[in-house]
Protein backbone atom coordinates (compact mmCIF):
# COMPACT_ATOMS: atom_id res chain seq x y z
CA UNK A 1 0.00 0.00 0.00
CA UNK A 2 1.49 3.33 -0.99
CA UNK A 3 0.11 6.30 0.91
CA UNK A 4 3.27 8.35 0.72
CA UNK A 5 2.63 12.09 0.68
CA UNK A 6 -1.09 11.89 1.50
CA UNK A 7 -2.38 14.50 3.94
CA UNK A 8 -5.07 13.50 6.39
CA UNK A 9 -6.90 15.06 9.31
CA UNK A 10 -6.98 13.07 12.54
CA UNK A 11 -10.08 13.36 14.71
CA UNK A 12 -9.86 12.20 18.33
CA UNK A 13 -12.86 10.39 19.84
CA UNK A 14 -11.61 9.68 23.36
CA UNK A 15 -13.75 12.39 24.94
CA UNK A 16 -16.94 11.34 23.12
CA UNK A 17 -16.79 7.67 22.08
CA UNK A 18 -14.58 7.19 25.13
CA UNK A 19 -17.51 8.33 27.23
CA UNK A 20 -19.14 4.94 26.50
CA UNK A 21 -16.19 3.13 28.02
CA UNK A 22 -16.39 5.47 31.02
CA UNK A 23 -20.16 5.15 31.39
CA UNK A 24 -20.24 8.88 30.60
CA UNK A 25 -18.51 9.67 33.90
CA UNK A 26 -15.42 11.55 32.67
CA UNK A 27 -14.78 14.49 34.99
CA UNK A 28 -14.35 18.06 33.78
CA UNK A 29 -10.72 17.97 34.94
CA UNK A 30 -10.05 14.82 32.94
CA UNK A 31 -11.72 16.31 29.88
CA UNK A 32 -9.62 19.45 30.14
CA UNK A 33 -6.41 17.54 30.74
CA UNK A 34 -6.87 15.11 27.82
CA UNK A 35 -8.12 17.81 25.44
CA UNK A 36 -5.20 20.09 26.31
CA UNK A 37 -2.76 17.22 25.82
CA UNK A 38 -4.23 16.31 22.44
CA UNK A 39 -4.18 19.94 21.38
CA UNK A 40 -0.54 20.28 22.39
CA UNK A 41 0.25 17.10 20.43
CA UNK A 42 -1.14 18.75 17.32
CA UNK A 43 -4.28 16.61 17.01
CA UNK A 44 -6.37 18.91 14.82
CA UNK A 45 -9.89 17.80 15.83
CA UNK A 46 -11.33 16.70 19.18
CA UNK A 47 -14.89 15.53 19.80
CA UNK A 48 -16.57 16.30 23.12
CA UNK A 49 -20.08 15.27 24.24
CA UNK A 50 -22.05 12.48 25.81
CA UNK A 51 -21.19 9.20 24.09
CA UNK A 52 -24.53 9.25 22.29
CA UNK A 53 -24.05 12.85 21.29
CA UNK A 54 -25.82 16.01 22.35
CA UNK A 55 -28.77 15.29 24.66
CA UNK A 56 -27.68 11.68 25.05
CA UNK A 57 -28.19 12.07 28.80
CA UNK A 58 -30.93 9.55 29.56
CA UNK A 59 -31.93 6.42 31.40
CA UNK A 60 -31.53 4.61 28.11
CA UNK A 61 -27.92 5.58 27.42
CA UNK A 62 -26.76 6.68 30.85
CA UNK A 63 -26.65 9.98 32.68
CA UNK A 64 -23.28 11.71 32.37
CA UNK A 65 -21.27 13.28 35.16
CA UNK A 66 -21.84 16.69 33.56
CA UNK A 67 -24.06 18.20 30.89
CA UNK A 68 -22.84 18.60 27.31
CA UNK A 69 -22.78 22.33 27.89
CA UNK A 70 -20.61 21.99 31.01
CA UNK A 71 -18.14 19.78 29.16
CA UNK A 72 -17.97 22.02 26.08
CA UNK A 73 -17.61 25.25 28.05
CA UNK A 74 -14.93 23.68 30.25
CA UNK A 75 -12.84 22.35 27.37
CA UNK A 76 -13.17 25.14 24.82
CA UNK A 77 -10.88 27.74 26.42
CA UNK A 78 -8.10 25.17 26.94
CA UNK A 79 -7.93 24.12 23.31
CA UNK A 80 -5.91 26.62 21.31
CA UNK A 81 -5.47 25.10 17.87
CA UNK A 82 -7.69 22.08 17.49
CA UNK A 83 -11.24 22.23 16.28
CA UNK A 84 -13.85 21.00 18.74
CA UNK A 85 -16.69 18.91 17.37
CA UNK A 86 -20.00 17.77 18.80
CA UNK A 87 -21.99 14.77 17.68
CA UNK A 88 -25.76 14.86 17.22
CA UNK A 89 -28.06 11.92 16.52
CA UNK A 90 -31.44 13.08 15.18
CA UNK A 91 -34.13 11.37 17.24
CA UNK A 92 -32.05 12.01 20.36
CA UNK A 93 -30.58 15.51 19.96
CA UNK A 94 -32.42 18.44 18.40
CA UNK A 95 -31.62 21.79 16.80
CA UNK A 96 -31.71 23.74 20.11
CA UNK A 97 -28.89 21.53 21.46
CA UNK A 98 -26.98 22.10 18.24
CA UNK A 99 -27.37 25.84 18.74
CA UNK A 100 -26.20 25.48 22.32
CA UNK A 101 -23.07 23.65 21.13
CA UNK A 102 -22.42 26.39 18.57
CA UNK A 103 -22.78 28.95 21.32
CA UNK A 104 -20.19 27.02 23.34
CA UNK A 105 -17.78 27.55 20.47
CA UNK A 106 -17.71 24.21 18.66
CA UNK A 107 -16.29 24.38 15.14
CA UNK A 108 -17.79 21.18 13.79
CA UNK A 109 -21.14 19.46 14.04
CA UNK A 110 -21.37 15.82 13.09
CA UNK A 111 -24.90 14.66 12.37
CA UNK A 112 -25.15 10.89 12.70
CA UNK A 113 -27.89 8.65 11.37
CA UNK A 114 -28.21 4.96 10.71
CA UNK A 115 -26.77 4.26 7.25
CA UNK A 116 -30.23 4.00 5.64
CA UNK A 117 -31.93 6.91 7.40
CA UNK A 118 -30.01 9.98 6.20
CA UNK A 119 -33.22 11.88 5.50
CA UNK A 120 -33.77 12.52 9.21
CA UNK A 121 -30.66 14.72 9.23
CA UNK A 122 -31.93 17.53 7.02
CA UNK A 123 -32.99 19.93 9.81
CA UNK A 124 -29.71 19.54 11.65
CA UNK A 125 -27.34 19.67 8.68
CA UNK A 126 -29.18 22.73 7.37
CA UNK A 127 -28.89 24.47 10.71
CA UNK A 128 -25.23 23.63 11.16
CA UNK A 129 -24.41 25.03 7.72
CA UNK A 130 -26.52 28.08 8.38
CA UNK A 131 -24.41 28.69 11.49
CA UNK A 132 -21.31 28.48 9.31
CA UNK A 133 -19.96 25.36 10.99
CA UNK A 134 -17.91 22.58 9.48
CA UNK A 135 -20.72 20.05 8.92
CA UNK A 136 -20.30 16.32 8.75
CA UNK A 137 -22.86 13.69 7.79
CA UNK A 138 -22.06 10.49 9.65
CA UNK A 139 -23.51 7.23 8.32
CA UNK A 140 -23.47 4.67 11.12
CA UNK A 141 -23.44 0.87 10.98
CA UNK A 142 -22.28 1.16 7.37
CA UNK A 143 -21.47 -2.55 7.22
CA UNK A 144 -25.21 -3.28 7.02
CA UNK A 145 -25.61 -1.95 3.48
CA UNK A 146 -23.63 -2.07 0.28
CA UNK A 147 -21.91 0.72 -1.62
CA UNK A 148 -24.97 1.66 -3.69
CA UNK A 149 -27.16 2.40 -0.69
CA UNK A 150 -24.32 4.31 0.96
CA UNK A 151 -23.90 6.44 -2.15
CA UNK A 152 -27.59 7.32 -2.13
CA UNK A 153 -27.54 8.23 1.55
CA UNK A 154 -24.25 10.13 1.34
CA UNK A 155 -25.64 12.21 -1.51
CA UNK A 156 -28.70 13.08 0.58
CA UNK A 157 -26.50 14.43 3.36
CA UNK A 158 -24.27 16.24 0.89
CA UNK A 159 -27.40 17.75 -0.64
CA UNK A 160 -28.54 19.06 2.76
CA UNK A 161 -25.22 20.84 3.08
CA UNK A 162 -22.73 18.45 4.66
CA UNK A 163 -19.19 19.29 3.54
CA UNK A 164 -17.85 15.95 4.73
CA UNK A 165 -19.36 12.46 4.76
CA UNK A 166 -18.30 9.67 7.07
CA UNK A 167 -18.62 5.96 6.51
CA UNK A 168 -18.82 4.61 10.03
CA UNK A 169 -18.04 1.06 11.11
CA UNK A 170 -19.97 1.32 14.38
CA UNK A 171 -19.83 -2.41 15.00
CA UNK A 172 -16.17 -2.87 14.12
CA UNK A 173 -17.39 -5.53 11.71
CA UNK A 174 -15.86 -4.45 8.41
CA UNK A 175 -12.93 -6.18 6.82
CA UNK A 176 -10.42 -4.06 4.91
CA UNK A 177 -12.01 -4.94 1.58
CA UNK A 178 -15.42 -3.86 2.89
CA UNK A 179 -13.90 -0.50 3.73
CA UNK A 180 -12.18 -0.14 0.37
CA UNK A 181 -15.33 -0.98 -1.58
CA UNK A 182 -17.57 1.41 0.32
CA UNK A 183 -15.16 4.31 0.59
CA UNK A 184 -14.14 4.17 -3.07
CA UNK A 185 -17.75 4.12 -4.18
CA UNK A 186 -18.76 7.02 -1.96
CA UNK A 187 -15.63 9.00 -2.87
CA UNK A 188 -16.48 8.72 -6.53
CA UNK A 189 -20.11 9.71 -6.00
CA UNK A 190 -19.50 12.86 -3.98
CA UNK A 191 -18.46 16.27 -5.22
CA UNK A 192 -14.66 16.50 -5.31
CA UNK A 193 -14.67 19.25 -2.67
CA UNK A 194 -16.73 17.16 -0.23
CA UNK A 195 -14.44 15.49 2.27
CA UNK A 196 -14.67 11.82 3.15
CA UNK A 197 -14.04 10.23 6.54
CA UNK A 198 -13.85 6.85 8.22
CA UNK A 199 -14.65 5.94 11.82
CA UNK A 200 -13.60 2.49 12.94
CA UNK A 201 -13.95 0.26 15.96
CA UNK A 202 -11.28 -2.19 16.99
CA UNK A 203 -13.51 -5.19 17.79
CA UNK A 204 -11.70 -7.40 15.26
CA UNK A 205 -8.39 -5.57 15.80
CA UNK A 206 -8.77 -4.07 12.34
CA UNK A 207 -9.09 -0.41 13.32
CA UNK A 208 -5.64 0.56 12.04
CA UNK A 209 -5.62 -1.45 8.83
CA UNK A 210 -9.21 -0.45 8.01
CA UNK A 211 -8.30 3.20 8.48
CA UNK A 212 -5.33 2.77 6.14
CA UNK A 213 -7.64 1.15 3.59
CA UNK A 214 -9.94 4.15 3.96
CA UNK A 215 -7.09 6.58 3.29
CA UNK A 216 -6.08 4.58 0.25
CA UNK A 217 -9.69 4.72 -0.99
CA UNK A 218 -9.75 8.49 -0.69
CA UNK A 219 -10.71 9.33 2.89
CA UNK A 220 -8.96 12.37 4.29
CA UNK A 221 -10.45 12.41 7.79
CA UNK A 222 -9.80 9.52 10.13
CA UNK A 223 -11.27 9.00 13.58
CA UNK A 224 -9.48 7.28 16.39
CA UNK A 225 -9.01 7.56 20.13
CA UNK A 226 -5.99 8.07 22.31
CA UNK A 227 -5.34 4.64 23.87
CA UNK A 228 -8.33 3.50 21.83
CA UNK A 229 -10.73 4.70 24.53
CA UNK A 230 -14.12 4.15 22.94
CA UNK A 231 -17.09 1.81 22.79
CA UNK A 232 -16.57 -1.92 22.36
CA UNK A 233 -12.90 -2.78 22.01
CA UNK A 234 -12.45 0.93 21.45
CA UNK A 235 -11.81 3.05 18.41
CA UNK A 236 -8.79 2.89 16.18
CA UNK A 237 -5.94 3.47 18.66
CA UNK A 238 -4.78 6.84 17.50
CA UNK A 239 -1.16 6.72 18.62
CA UNK A 240 -0.71 3.40 16.81
CA UNK A 241 -2.37 4.73 13.68
CA UNK A 242 -0.25 7.88 13.71
CA UNK A 243 2.94 5.83 14.16
CA UNK A 244 2.02 3.67 11.20
CA UNK A 245 1.05 6.57 8.97
CA UNK A 246 4.28 8.35 9.86
CA UNK A 247 6.25 5.28 8.77
CA UNK A 248 4.25 5.29 5.53
CA UNK A 249 4.91 8.94 4.82
CA UNK A 250 1.37 10.19 5.47
CA UNK A 251 1.18 13.73 6.83
CA UNK A 252 -0.97 14.14 9.94
CA UNK A 253 0.77 17.08 11.63
CA UNK A 254 0.57 15.15 14.91
CA UNK A 255 3.56 14.85 17.27
CA UNK A 256 3.67 11.09 17.78
CA UNK A 257 5.56 11.01 21.07
CA UNK A 258 3.34 13.67 22.63
CA UNK A 259 0.28 11.72 21.53
CA UNK A 260 1.76 8.51 22.96
CA UNK A 261 2.23 10.34 26.26
CA UNK A 262 -1.39 11.54 26.30
CA UNK A 263 -2.53 7.96 25.72
CA UNK A 264 -0.22 6.39 28.28
CA UNK A 265 -0.08 9.05 31.00
CA UNK A 266 -3.56 10.61 30.82
CA UNK A 267 -6.03 8.22 29.19
CA UNK A 268 -4.89 4.78 30.39
CA UNK A 269 -5.00 5.79 34.08
CA UNK A 270 -8.61 6.93 33.56
CA UNK A 271 -9.85 3.56 32.34
CA UNK A 272 -12.34 1.61 34.45
CA UNK A 273 -11.50 -1.56 32.53
CA UNK A 274 -8.84 -2.33 29.94
CA UNK A 275 -9.84 -1.43 26.39
CA UNK A 276 -9.31 -4.79 24.74
CA UNK A 277 -10.91 -7.36 22.49
CA UNK A 278 -12.57 -9.36 25.24
CA UNK A 279 -15.14 -12.06 24.51
CA UNK A 280 -18.04 -9.64 24.31
CA UNK A 281 -16.22 -7.00 22.27
CA UNK A 282 -15.14 -9.69 19.84
CA UNK A 283 -18.77 -10.79 19.60
CA UNK A 284 -19.72 -7.25 18.60
CA UNK A 285 -17.26 -7.30 15.72
CA UNK A 286 -18.07 -10.85 14.76
CA UNK A 287 -21.86 -10.45 14.82
CA UNK A 288 -22.06 -6.82 13.63
CA UNK A 289 -23.53 -5.26 16.76
CA UNK A 290 -23.36 -1.58 17.78
CA UNK A 291 -20.27 -1.15 19.93
CA UNK A 292 -21.83 0.83 22.78
CA UNK A 293 -24.04 -2.16 23.62
CA UNK A 294 -21.01 -3.77 25.29
CA UNK A 295 -21.30 -2.60 28.88
CA UNK A 296 -25.11 -2.78 28.81
CA UNK A 297 -24.93 -6.44 27.79
CA UNK A 298 -22.48 -7.14 30.62
CA UNK A 299 -24.89 -5.50 33.08
CA UNK A 300 -27.79 -7.53 31.67
CA UNK A 301 -25.76 -10.69 32.27
CA UNK A 302 -25.26 -9.71 35.89
CA UNK A 303 -28.88 -8.82 36.48
CA UNK A 304 -30.65 -11.57 34.54
CA UNK A 305 -28.11 -14.41 34.60
CA UNK A 306 -28.00 -14.79 30.83
CA UNK A 307 -24.85 -14.85 28.73
CA UNK A 308 -23.91 -11.37 27.49
CA UNK A 309 -22.49 -13.00 24.37
CA UNK A 310 -25.81 -14.71 23.65
CA UNK A 311 -27.66 -11.44 24.20
CA UNK A 312 -25.36 -9.62 21.77
CA UNK A 313 -25.66 -12.32 19.12
CA UNK A 314 -29.45 -12.20 19.43
CA UNK A 315 -29.47 -8.39 19.11
CA UNK A 316 -27.43 -8.74 15.93
CA UNK A 317 -29.75 -11.41 14.60
CA UNK A 318 -32.73 -9.10 15.17
CA UNK A 319 -31.09 -6.26 13.25
CA UNK A 320 -30.89 -3.87 16.19
CA UNK A 321 -29.17 -0.60 15.34
CA UNK A 322 -27.44 2.24 17.15
CA UNK A 323 -29.50 3.75 19.94
CA UNK A 324 -31.53 0.63 20.72
CA UNK A 325 -29.95 0.08 24.13
CA UNK A 326 -33.44 -0.50 25.56
CA UNK A 327 -33.66 -3.75 23.62
CA UNK A 328 -30.69 -5.20 25.53
CA UNK A 329 -32.64 -5.48 28.77
CA UNK A 330 -35.71 -6.57 26.81
CA UNK A 331 -33.86 -9.41 25.04
CA UNK A 332 -32.10 -10.43 28.28
CA UNK A 333 -35.45 -10.70 30.06
CA UNK A 334 -36.92 -12.69 27.23
CA UNK A 335 -33.96 -15.09 27.26
CA UNK A 336 -34.06 -15.39 31.06
CA UNK A 337 -37.79 -16.21 30.90
CA UNK A 338 -37.22 -18.81 28.21
CA UNK A 339 -34.44 -20.41 30.27
CA UNK A 340 -36.68 -20.41 33.32
CA UNK A 341 -39.36 -22.25 31.38
CA UNK A 342 -36.85 -24.85 30.22
CA UNK A 343 -35.61 -25.46 33.75
Amino acid sequence: MNLNGKKITIHDMSLRDGMHAKRHQISLEQMISVASGLDAAGVPMIEVTHGDGLAGASVNYGFPAHTDEEYLRAVRPHVKNAKISALLLPGIGTVPELEMAADCGVDTIRVATHCTEADVSEQHINKSRELGLDTVGFLMMAHMVGPEKLIEQARLMEGYGANCIYVTDSAGYMLPDDVTQRLMAVREALQPETELGFHGHHNLSLGVINSLAAVEAGANRIDGSAAGMGAGAGNTPLEVFVAVTERMGVETGVDLFKLMDVAEDLVVPMLDQPIRVDRDALTLGYAGVYSSFLLFAKRAQQRYGVSSRDVLVELGRRGMIGGQEDMIEDVAMEMANAQGVQQ
Binding site: V59, D119, V120
Partner: protein, 303 residues
Protein backbone atom coordinates in the same frame (compact mmCIF):
# COMPACT_ATOMS: atom_id res chain seq x y z
CA UNK B 1 -77.80 7.42 13.20
CA UNK B 2 -76.48 10.56 11.56
CA UNK B 3 -72.75 10.99 11.16
CA UNK B 4 -70.52 14.04 10.95
CA UNK B 5 -68.77 14.61 7.65
CA UNK B 6 -65.01 14.69 7.89
CA UNK B 7 -61.98 15.44 5.72
CA UNK B 8 -58.59 13.79 5.81
CA UNK B 9 -55.81 16.24 5.04
CA UNK B 10 -52.71 14.35 4.00
CA UNK B 11 -52.70 11.24 1.86
CA UNK B 12 -49.62 9.54 3.29
CA UNK B 13 -49.31 6.64 5.70
CA UNK B 14 -51.30 8.23 8.53
CA UNK B 15 -54.03 9.74 6.38
CA UNK B 16 -54.61 6.53 4.45
CA UNK B 17 -54.66 4.30 7.53
CA UNK B 18 -57.09 6.73 9.16
CA UNK B 19 -59.32 6.57 6.09
CA UNK B 20 -59.94 2.85 6.57
CA UNK B 21 -60.68 3.25 10.25
CA UNK B 22 -62.97 6.24 9.68
CA UNK B 23 -65.02 4.27 7.17
CA UNK B 24 -65.92 1.87 10.00
CA UNK B 25 -66.91 4.64 12.43
CA UNK B 26 -70.45 5.02 13.77
CA UNK B 27 -69.96 8.77 14.18
CA UNK B 28 -67.65 9.92 11.40
CA UNK B 29 -68.29 9.93 7.66
CA UNK B 30 -65.12 10.64 5.67
CA UNK B 31 -66.02 12.60 2.54
CA UNK B 32 -62.79 14.31 1.44
CA UNK B 33 -59.14 13.43 1.20
CA UNK B 34 -56.63 16.19 0.48
CA UNK B 35 -53.17 15.58 -0.95
CA UNK B 36 -50.48 17.47 -2.80
CA UNK B 37 -49.42 14.79 -5.26
CA UNK B 38 -51.81 13.80 -8.06
CA UNK B 39 -50.21 10.36 -8.22
CA UNK B 40 -50.49 9.68 -4.49
CA UNK B 41 -51.56 6.17 -3.68
CA UNK B 42 -53.64 7.40 -0.77
CA UNK B 43 -55.71 9.68 -3.03
CA UNK B 44 -56.26 6.87 -5.52
CA UNK B 45 -57.50 4.61 -2.74
CA UNK B 46 -59.77 7.36 -1.40
CA UNK B 47 -61.33 7.96 -4.83
CA UNK B 48 -61.97 4.25 -5.19
CA UNK B 49 -63.74 4.28 -1.85
CA UNK B 50 -65.99 7.11 -3.01
CA UNK B 51 -64.36 10.12 -1.37
CA UNK B 52 -63.83 13.41 -3.12
CA UNK B 53 -60.16 14.20 -3.50
CA UNK B 54 -57.89 17.05 -4.45
CA UNK B 55 -54.15 17.18 -4.99
CA UNK B 56 -54.07 20.94 -4.58
CA UNK B 57 -53.77 20.95 -0.82
CA UNK B 58 -56.36 22.38 1.54
CA UNK B 59 -57.12 25.19 -0.93
CA UNK B 60 -58.54 22.57 -3.28
CA UNK B 61 -61.12 21.54 -0.71
CA UNK B 62 -61.98 24.77 1.12
CA UNK B 63 -64.50 26.04 -1.51
CA UNK B 64 -66.51 22.83 -1.07
CA UNK B 65 -66.50 22.50 2.69
CA UNK B 66 -69.83 24.27 3.26
CA UNK B 67 -71.86 22.37 0.68
CA UNK B 68 -70.26 19.10 1.79
CA UNK B 69 -70.86 19.94 5.46
CA UNK B 70 -67.31 19.13 6.54
CA UNK B 71 -67.21 19.79 10.28
CA UNK B 72 -64.21 17.75 11.34
CA UNK B 73 -60.81 17.79 9.66
CA UNK B 74 -57.87 15.55 10.45
CA UNK B 75 -54.46 16.98 9.62
CA UNK B 76 -51.96 14.25 8.78
CA UNK B 77 -49.49 16.42 6.87
CA UNK B 78 -46.56 17.94 8.72
CA UNK B 79 -45.95 20.33 11.55
CA UNK B 80 -44.66 22.92 9.10
CA UNK B 81 -47.92 23.33 7.20
CA UNK B 82 -50.35 22.58 9.99
CA UNK B 83 -50.77 26.21 11.03
CA UNK B 84 -52.04 27.26 7.61
CA UNK B 85 -54.25 24.21 7.23
CA UNK B 86 -55.73 24.86 10.63
CA UNK B 87 -56.54 28.50 9.92
CA UNK B 88 -58.20 27.69 6.62
CA UNK B 89 -60.48 24.91 7.81
CA UNK B 90 -61.45 26.65 11.03
CA UNK B 91 -62.57 29.64 8.96
CA UNK B 92 -65.00 27.20 7.35
CA UNK B 93 -66.38 26.19 10.73
CA UNK B 94 -64.56 22.90 11.05
CA UNK B 95 -62.74 21.65 14.08
CA UNK B 96 -59.29 20.23 13.65
CA UNK B 97 -57.84 17.00 14.93
CA UNK B 98 -54.11 17.54 14.52
CA UNK B 99 -52.08 14.39 13.92
CA UNK B 100 -48.89 16.33 13.19
CA UNK B 101 -46.50 17.21 16.02
CA UNK B 102 -47.31 20.93 15.56
CA UNK B 103 -48.92 21.04 19.01
CA UNK B 104 -50.97 24.19 18.34
CA UNK B 105 -53.91 22.94 20.37
CA UNK B 106 -54.05 21.07 23.67
CA UNK B 107 -52.71 17.51 23.76
CA UNK B 108 -55.12 14.60 23.68
CA UNK B 109 -54.15 11.06 24.67
CA UNK B 110 -57.60 9.44 24.83
CA UNK B 111 -57.21 6.90 27.67
CA UNK B 112 -55.60 9.58 29.83
CA UNK B 113 -57.39 12.84 29.14
CA UNK B 114 -60.09 12.54 26.47
CA UNK B 115 -62.83 13.48 28.90
CA UNK B 116 -60.96 16.66 29.84
CA UNK B 117 -61.67 17.90 26.32
CA UNK B 118 -65.45 17.47 26.59
CA UNK B 119 -67.46 20.65 26.66
CA UNK B 120 -64.48 22.98 26.32
CA UNK B 121 -65.42 24.21 22.86
CA UNK B 122 -61.90 23.50 21.65
CA UNK B 123 -61.46 23.88 17.90
CA UNK B 124 -58.03 22.26 17.65
CA UNK B 125 -56.68 19.32 19.59
CA UNK B 126 -53.28 17.77 19.07
CA UNK B 127 -52.72 14.03 19.09
CA UNK B 128 -49.05 14.38 20.16
CA UNK B 129 -47.16 11.69 18.17
CA UNK B 130 -47.42 7.96 17.61
CA UNK B 131 -44.69 7.48 20.21
CA UNK B 132 -46.60 9.69 22.61
CA UNK B 133 -49.86 7.79 22.13
CA UNK B 134 -48.05 4.52 22.79
CA UNK B 135 -46.15 5.61 25.88
CA UNK B 136 -47.91 8.43 27.69
CA UNK B 137 -50.65 6.11 29.00
CA UNK B 138 -47.87 4.15 30.74
CA UNK B 139 -46.30 7.27 32.23
CA UNK B 140 -49.75 8.31 33.44
CA UNK B 141 -50.34 4.83 34.85
CA UNK B 142 -47.29 5.29 37.07
CA UNK B 143 -47.83 8.95 37.92
CA UNK B 144 -51.41 8.34 39.06
CA UNK B 145 -49.98 6.00 41.71
CA UNK B 146 -47.13 8.22 42.92
CA UNK B 147 -45.11 11.24 41.78
CA UNK B 148 -42.80 10.70 38.79
CA UNK B 149 -39.79 13.03 38.72
CA UNK B 150 -38.69 11.97 35.24
CA UNK B 151 -40.33 10.10 32.38
CA UNK B 152 -38.41 8.94 29.33
CA UNK B 153 -39.76 7.11 26.33
CA UNK B 154 -37.98 5.34 23.49
CA UNK B 155 -40.20 4.74 20.47
CA UNK B 156 -38.87 2.41 17.79
CA UNK B 157 -40.70 2.20 14.50
CA UNK B 158 -39.87 0.40 11.30
CA UNK B 159 -38.32 2.64 8.66
CA UNK B 160 -41.02 1.67 6.20
CA UNK B 161 -43.74 3.07 8.43
CA UNK B 162 -42.09 6.48 8.88
CA UNK B 163 -43.10 8.71 5.99
CA UNK B 164 -41.41 11.86 4.78
CA UNK B 165 -43.43 14.06 7.13
CA UNK B 166 -42.20 12.21 10.21
CA UNK B 167 -38.65 12.31 8.90
CA UNK B 168 -38.66 16.02 8.19
CA UNK B 169 -40.25 16.68 11.59
CA UNK B 170 -38.04 14.49 13.72
CA UNK B 171 -37.19 17.33 16.13
CA UNK B 172 -40.86 18.21 16.49
CA UNK B 173 -41.50 14.55 17.22
CA UNK B 174 -39.07 14.42 20.13
CA UNK B 175 -39.96 17.86 21.47
CA UNK B 176 -43.72 17.40 21.27
CA UNK B 177 -43.58 13.93 22.77
CA UNK B 178 -41.34 15.05 25.63
CA UNK B 179 -43.70 17.95 26.33
CA UNK B 180 -46.71 15.66 26.46
CA UNK B 181 -44.88 13.16 28.70
CA UNK B 182 -44.89 16.04 31.17
CA UNK B 183 -48.25 17.70 30.51
CA UNK B 184 -50.37 14.59 29.96
CA UNK B 185 -48.20 11.83 31.41
CA UNK B 186 -47.64 13.72 34.63
CA UNK B 187 -43.83 13.40 34.77
CA UNK B 188 -42.11 16.48 36.16
CA UNK B 189 -39.50 16.21 33.43
CA UNK B 190 -40.00 14.41 30.12
CA UNK B 191 -37.66 13.09 27.46
CA UNK B 192 -38.36 11.33 24.18
CA UNK B 193 -36.15 9.36 21.82
CA UNK B 194 -37.19 7.97 18.44
CA UNK B 195 -35.42 5.25 16.49
CA UNK B 196 -36.16 4.27 12.89
CA UNK B 197 -35.08 0.69 12.30
CA UNK B 198 -34.78 -0.55 8.69
CA UNK B 199 -34.71 -4.30 9.44
CA UNK B 200 -36.44 -6.63 6.98
CA UNK B 201 -38.96 -8.03 7.59
CA UNK B 202 -39.97 -4.81 9.36
CA UNK B 203 -40.02 -4.78 13.15
CA UNK B 204 -43.21 -4.26 15.04
CA UNK B 205 -43.45 -0.92 16.83
CA UNK B 206 -41.69 -1.10 20.19
CA UNK B 207 -41.94 1.42 22.99
CA UNK B 208 -39.87 1.48 26.15
CA UNK B 209 -41.05 3.68 29.00
CA UNK B 210 -38.77 4.57 31.89
CA UNK B 211 -40.20 6.40 34.89
CA UNK B 212 -38.18 7.58 37.88
CA UNK B 213 -40.45 7.78 40.88
CA UNK B 214 -39.69 10.31 43.59
CA UNK B 215 -40.03 7.74 46.37
CA UNK B 216 -39.63 4.00 46.37
CA UNK B 217 -42.09 2.61 43.83
CA UNK B 218 -45.19 0.86 45.14
CA UNK B 219 -44.72 -2.19 42.97
CA UNK B 220 -48.10 -3.82 43.44
CA UNK B 221 -50.08 -0.62 42.86
CA UNK B 222 -48.02 0.38 39.83
CA UNK B 223 -48.28 -3.07 38.26
CA UNK B 224 -52.05 -3.04 38.69
CA UNK B 225 -52.36 0.50 37.36
CA UNK B 226 -50.31 -0.42 34.28
CA UNK B 227 -52.45 -3.49 33.59
CA UNK B 228 -55.61 -1.44 33.90
CA UNK B 229 -54.28 1.25 31.56
CA UNK B 230 -53.26 -1.37 28.99
CA UNK B 231 -56.85 -2.62 28.96
CA UNK B 232 -58.04 0.96 28.32
CA UNK B 233 -55.71 1.35 25.34
CA UNK B 234 -56.66 -2.08 24.02
CA UNK B 235 -60.25 -0.88 23.69
CA UNK B 236 -59.21 1.04 20.58
CA UNK B 237 -55.83 -0.57 19.74
CA UNK B 238 -56.26 -4.30 20.40
CA UNK B 239 -52.61 -5.02 19.54
CA UNK B 240 -51.21 -2.88 22.41
CA UNK B 241 -49.29 -5.32 24.58
CA UNK B 242 -46.88 -5.46 27.50
CA UNK B 243 -43.85 -7.34 26.21
CA UNK B 244 -41.72 -7.21 29.35
CA UNK B 245 -41.80 -5.61 32.79
CA UNK B 246 -42.60 -3.69 34.73
CA UNK B 247 -38.97 -3.77 35.84
CA UNK B 248 -38.33 -2.20 39.22
CA UNK B 249 -34.71 -1.16 39.74
CA UNK B 250 -34.33 1.27 42.61
CA UNK B 251 -36.67 4.11 41.73
CA UNK B 252 -36.70 3.18 38.05
CA UNK B 253 -39.86 1.64 36.67
CA UNK B 254 -39.53 0.37 33.09
CA UNK B 255 -42.10 -1.21 30.80
CA UNK B 256 -41.45 -2.66 27.37
CA UNK B 257 -44.45 -2.34 25.06
CA UNK B 258 -45.23 -3.71 21.63
CA UNK B 259 -47.88 -2.29 19.33
CA UNK B 260 -49.34 -4.44 16.61
CA UNK B 261 -51.60 -2.72 14.13
CA UNK B 262 -54.72 -3.96 12.40
CA UNK B 263 -53.01 -3.89 9.04
CA UNK B 264 -55.57 -1.51 7.54
CA UNK B 265 -53.05 0.23 5.28
CA UNK B 266 -49.50 -0.82 6.06
CA UNK B 267 -49.03 -4.35 7.44
CA UNK B 268 -49.46 -5.17 11.11
CA UNK B 269 -45.91 -4.19 12.08
CA UNK B 270 -46.87 -0.55 11.69
CA UNK B 271 -48.66 -0.29 15.05
CA UNK B 272 -47.41 3.28 15.19
CA UNK B 273 -49.95 4.19 12.51
CA UNK B 274 -52.80 2.48 14.31
CA UNK B 275 -52.18 3.96 17.71
CA UNK B 276 -52.14 7.44 16.19
CA UNK B 277 -55.08 7.08 13.83
CA UNK B 278 -57.22 5.14 16.30
CA UNK B 279 -56.58 7.80 18.94
CA UNK B 280 -57.36 10.58 16.45
CA UNK B 281 -60.56 8.88 15.39
CA UNK B 282 -61.60 8.18 18.99
CA UNK B 283 -61.15 11.88 19.72
CA UNK B 284 -63.07 12.94 16.63
CA UNK B 285 -65.93 10.61 17.56
CA UNK B 286 -66.20 12.30 20.94
CA UNK B 287 -66.50 15.68 19.22
CA UNK B 288 -68.95 14.25 16.67
CA UNK B 289 -71.13 13.06 19.50
CA UNK B 290 -71.07 16.56 20.98
CA UNK B 291 -71.98 18.12 17.64
CA UNK B 292 -74.85 15.68 17.13
CA UNK B 293 -76.10 16.24 20.68
CA UNK B 294 -75.97 19.99 20.12
CA UNK B 295 -73.48 20.63 22.91
CA UNK B 296 -70.84 21.79 20.42
CA UNK B 297 -71.98 24.36 17.88
CA UNK B 298 -69.66 25.17 14.99
CA UNK B 299 -70.00 28.25 12.85
CA UNK B 300 -68.02 29.38 9.84
CA UNK B 301 -66.48 32.84 10.07
CA UNK B 302 -68.56 35.50 8.37
CA UNK B 303 -66.64 36.54 5.29
Amino acid sequence: MSKINAALIGSGNIGTDLLYKALRSDWINPVWMVGIDADSEGLARARKLGLKTTHEGVDGMVPHMQEDKVQICFDATSAYVHGENNRKVQAQGSIMIDLTPAAVGPFCVPPVNLKDHVGKGELNVNMVTCGGQATIPMVAAVSRVQPVSYGEIVATVSSKSAGPGTRKNIDEFTQTTAGAVEKVGGAKQGKAIIILNPAEPPLMMRDTVHCMTEDEPNQAAITESIQEMIREVQKYVPGYRLKNGPVFDGNRVTVFMEVEGLGDYLPKYAGNLDIMTAAGLRTAEMFAEEIINGTLVLQPEVA
